[in-house]
């Protein structure tokens, strides 16, 4: 499933909404999640999962080609943990 298929499905279920409004709605949801994480906030969607930000400590890396040591700065990366309900649904017969 891709973004446009998701928008299509929601549009079909909501014939009273213009498709361009459904597009804005779907885009707003994803945009809001990214903005929250960019602020360092978490987004917890019970049953689905939680988006959070993890800190990676600075470390001494190595250029794999030359073997040279390079300083890698501290950085923050997005992380998703699957919610319990979805995890269970993936494994029910």
């Amino acid at each position: 499933m891709i973004r446009s298929e998701l928008i299509q499905k929601i549009s079909e279920e909501n014939p009273h909404l213009y498709q361009r409004d459904v597009e804005r709605i779907v885009n707003t949801i994803f945009e809001e999640i990214i903005s929250a994480m960019a602020r360092g906030d978490r987004v917890e969607l019970r049953g689905f999962g939680a988006f959070s930000v993890k800190k990676r400590d600075p470390r001494l890396g190595r250029n794999p080609r030359t073997g040279e040591a390079v300083q890698v700065d501290e950085k923050h990366v997005p992380f998703f943990k699957t919610g319990k309900l979805l995890r269970d649904r993936l494994n029910e017969e």
Partner: protein, 100 residues
């Protein structure tokens, strides 16, 4: 910076501000987005949201695990797990936004 937790309520509030539907309908739309994504994943589909990220279902084989407390061996049944790979855009924005 950043130790707040947002929930469905905050997402529906954002939809409410952006599109001017009722709060109730905004909440229902947030729910139906999550439901459609979950249903697709449960069917085994990959959900790929451009400039956001990709959710993939992976099958794990059965293996023998160990209770870390008692050292006892326990069988772990085969299972499906969900993995999320963030888009470049998400990684960049999260890295830039949290930089000190």
């Amino acid at each position: 910076m950043g130790d707040k937790t947002l929930t469905r309520m905050d997402l529906s509030e954002a939809v409410f501000r952006e599109v001017g539907l009722s709060r109730n309908e905004s909440a229902q739309l947030v729910e139906s987005v999550l439901t459609h994504m979950s249903d697709a994943l449960v069917r085994g589909e990959t959900v790929k949201i451009s400039s956001f990220g990709t959710f993939t279902v992976r099958s794990k084989a059965a293996r023998v695990g160990r209770n870390p407390k008692t050292g006892e061996e326990v069988p772990i049944s085969p299972r499906r797990v969900l993995s999320f790979r963030p888009s470049h855009l998400m990684k960049e924005r999260v890295a830039a936004g949290n930089k000190r």
